[in-house]
Symmetry: C3
Subunit: 222 residues, 3 copies
């Protein structure tokens, strides 16, 4: 089943890592009162750029891909530091970065879910591993910064975009679609959902109970 | 040494996962001001229901059992969402849930410690892995929600109950007790200690130093 | 390549674990208002004393060394509890503890990076794994206590000391230096940098952007 592995060229993977790391640096810039030093910024770059892949490989019982190669760590920490130094330019490129990031989470999801399928996992765990590959870096980032994990709160469908894209990819592969087509469908679905969510401010409903509207309204007024 | 593995039928394990996930949803319901969305509740279900087993298998260097089967993830996230929707009913069932949960941590501890013994770990690490299996989900839950980890603070002997039960099980197995009897002793010890702790409000002493009473009292007054 | 493995006698490794655990207990003592109980203190000891090695072995895809032996867990939790009870004595020994700790992070870095090289990792990931071995315990400690991760904020070059020492060791080994000499160079570099940083209050620069001084000053005044 090794032929379902969606492999991208190293430079594409490293570019995705760099985009994640720059996003991490932009996020960290909001915490200037918390005195992150340069090392902290470099760590955030490593965590956001490589975290999803680290969790993916640990779940699959493998030595992380980013530790089997000398490129990943310098690219992730270097991109974060560059993003920090060029913050104004990077912020001006906001829409470009959001677009590249949408593509990036799609790609991380595709790499993760096909790697899980290749390791022999059933379809639902493979979708889970793909989604975790895409969003794991942002979870680790929030835990390291000591802020509530963003994707659990009413937000912009980050994880849902990743889950839908990887689910489409995994289902397509399961039903015999050639991997190239399945990957294009998966990556573009994730990217499109993510971009539409950002554009139109889509969110999931908040937690609530059936028949609990009155209690609910009282509690939100308090 | 594979014969020491305490295996439960899949439906029992899935029921335990579902109980953990419902508990997770009840816990998350306290955070309505933090705007957890439906995905956040589903994630809490996965984290509380499956987290202990994930940490256990990662420590043992194995692909997590919950990722080798299509059932665990939907059961955990589905149970959490059902718990959220039926919160009032679930809350009314409080004592039943506490009872089932006490049984559940006993069972997770027994599964974890025997799996560790079967993987060749010595007795003390096996007790540790069993305890982590039982309480790991609640630790991950607190980290993901950005609240202090509950089991480290003066509480209701959650981890102690798990540790005592798994220690009895591991010692019994080491001294040649048939696994079935050892497991019953271990699971029921954990459940009974946990229930007595809830009933009588047992706690461990707070941190303090020998001869430091005066300093201590001053610091608590400040 | 197994000959590059820097192995220390078990009692040296256990002493290092105990020093880490005592440091953990001293750190936890600052949180008396948070009601850590005795179990919480024991957990902090395990987390600080064994956390770096746990992360190291998980990244290398191996069952953690501290779980293959009955000594590590009792030593780590026992040292933390002893440190709690004898807090006044331990605090008076402050400079001794700081010195031993500087040696300890150097040693953990050396063990971690040579174990990574022996597992076939390239040099940069090996330096990363060594650094994580040295500082991982303190990261886990902060996450478990729900406080911001110390090493990401303007601090005392804890991680930099570990990274420089492991980098020197790995480079020396790569260029053919006998392991014993390389290890002495690495461990002593880490210890010296760490002690000088504590003595002279060295810090890394905070995060900032090129040309952003005016924005920066405004934001720090706000």
């Amino acid at each position: 089943m090794n032929e379902v592995l969606f492999v991208v060229p190293l430079w594409v993977d490293l570019s995705a890592v760099a985009i994640g790391a720059v996003q991490g640096a932009m996020f960290a810039a909001r915490f200037q009162d918390r005195q992150l030093d340069w090392l902290g910024v470099a760590i955030i770059g490593v965590v956001v750029g490589l975290g999803g892949g680290l969790i993916r490989d640990i779940l699959l019982g493998q030595v992380p891909a980013s530790l089997q190669n000398n490129w990943y760590l310098p690219v992730a920490s270097g991109a974060a530091l560059l993003g920090m130094l060029l913050l104004r330019t990077v912020t001006r490129l906001g829409p470009v970065i959001i677009g590249l990031d949408a593509l990036t989470i799609g790609m991380f999801g595709a790499i993760g879910s096909t790697k899980a399928l290749a390791a022999g996992l059933p379809v639902i765990p493979a979708i889970f591993v793909g989604t975790v590959s895409a969003v794991g870096g942002s979870v680790l980032r929030d835990v390291m910064l000591g802020v509530p994990v963003a994707l659990m709160h009413v937000g912009s469908l980050y994880a849902v975009a990743a889950a839908v894209g990887t689910a489409l990819l995994v289902l397509a592969v399961t039903f015999g679609t050639p991997l190239g087509i399945a990957a294009i469908v998966g990556v573009s679905s994730t990217a499109v959902i993510r971009l539409l969510a950002v554009r139109f401010g889509w969110t999931l409903p908040e937690q609530r109970q059936i028949g609990g509207w009155r209690i609910w309204r009282r509690s939100t007024r308090g």
